[in-house]
Symmetry: C2
Subunit: 225 residues, 2 copies
């Protein structure tokens, strides 16, 4: 297909496609004339993934390039692909070891991270030790403890069980998707784009529950406050 | 209590407390000497809420002041308090009407917001029409549609049902908390501080599910990649 069709089918503008071509995010098309090239389905798939990583994951072009490289090395291993596209950015084994050393030299981990490991163990989740989500959860647990909130990792277990059910829905979204690039695109959509949707639905449900439990029933529009 | 004890019990530094006093976020204490004042439990409760709104909701001091004013006007109406502390900032009825007019003048709402309303109706959630979460959900639905993801509001219903169960846990966290300021503080902790915890737990559970389904079982530490 011509670049104009590639643009139409991917929803990416021609100038942006040209920029990706110059930058090596897309391999060149097959030259058909002095200033024309032919692009295939593989270009389209790659372009859709790039668009998703840039637009949804909000990654800079350099990081997208690294990720594309890492994905194509995985030989279709969906577990690795899932991890690469959802984590901040791909890291080599050496970088990981260096980071781990830094963390160890920086001293003991916080009580929150230790508690996060307790929760993970109680849920029977098998995750690798350096997962970023473990540190995020640890930070929240540290904050809850600093605030004497009375909420600890045990209080979060009912939430963890619902998070577990959400993750089951997430992996089901991969059914019927084939091809490394399509799988990677779907993994980004499901993991990252659904985050604000989940939080928004929780907020909507909270409003409903809070009105039923604490308010005088649902409010009429325009009469709130 | 003296300002030093107020600082110790609230975890807020003395200079910060003095800044809040000057700024009117905290009412003055009862003067006991030329340069000394006595503070009560009410100061402590208010200070804890301010700390949570600034630290967790990351609100500027001006907005916190508005919120404190709005909360004390609610006369203990927990549904209103929940809405005030979880929404971006309190708005007066006039501001709300002005915003609604702006939206109407700006034209029809996006297809995503219409779909978000369908989802809310299908779930039987009673929410008011201008809720910010409805627009957030609409934006995600628009993005999913722009990307030809094949994921629409109906595909999100299983997620919505889990979000509903999460919100039931959320309102349960209010049990046993009394006093307007304590309720407001708890509502911020539960609604806002638990967001990153929920997303982190979902990510941990995803890693577990993805390893079980797609990978060759859980990885040994240090051997990933």
């Amino acid at each position: 297909m011509k670049i104009s069709e590639l643009s139409r089918r991917s929803g990416v503008s021609i100038p942006t496609i040209k920029y990706y071509l110059r930058d090596g995010l897309l391999p060149p098309g097959r030259a058909t004339a002095a200033n024309q090239a032919d692009y295939g389905e593989e270009h389209l798939r790659r372009l859709r993934l790039v668009r998703t990583l840039v637009g949804v994951r909000r990654l800079p072009v350099g990081a997208v390039k690294e990720i594309l490289g890492a994905i194509t090395e995985q030989d279709g291993d969906l577990h690795q692909i899932f991890g690469i596209v959802t984590d901040a950015r791909p890291v080599t084994q050496q970088q990981k070891q260096a980071r781990e050393r830094e963390r160890q030299e920086a001293g003991e981990e916080t009580g929150g991270v230790t508690d996060a490991r307790e929760l993970v163990a109680a849920m029977g989740w098998e995750v690798h030790s350096g997962t970023a989500a473990l540190r995020s959860l640890g930070e929240v647990l540290d904050a809850l403890s600093d605030m004497d909130s009375g909420i600890d990792w045990r209080s979060l277990l009912p939430y963890a069980r619902l998070a577990d059910r959400i993750s089951e829905l997430d992996v089901q979204q991969m059914n019927g998707v084939s091809g490394v690039l399509e799988l990677a695109e779907r993994a980004v959509l499901v993991s990252v784009l659904l985050e604000p949707a989940l939080l928004a639905m929780r907020r909507l449900a909270q409003e409903d529950k809070s009105a039923r439990l604490f308010g005088g029933g649902p409010e009429e529009e325009g009469e709130e406050e």
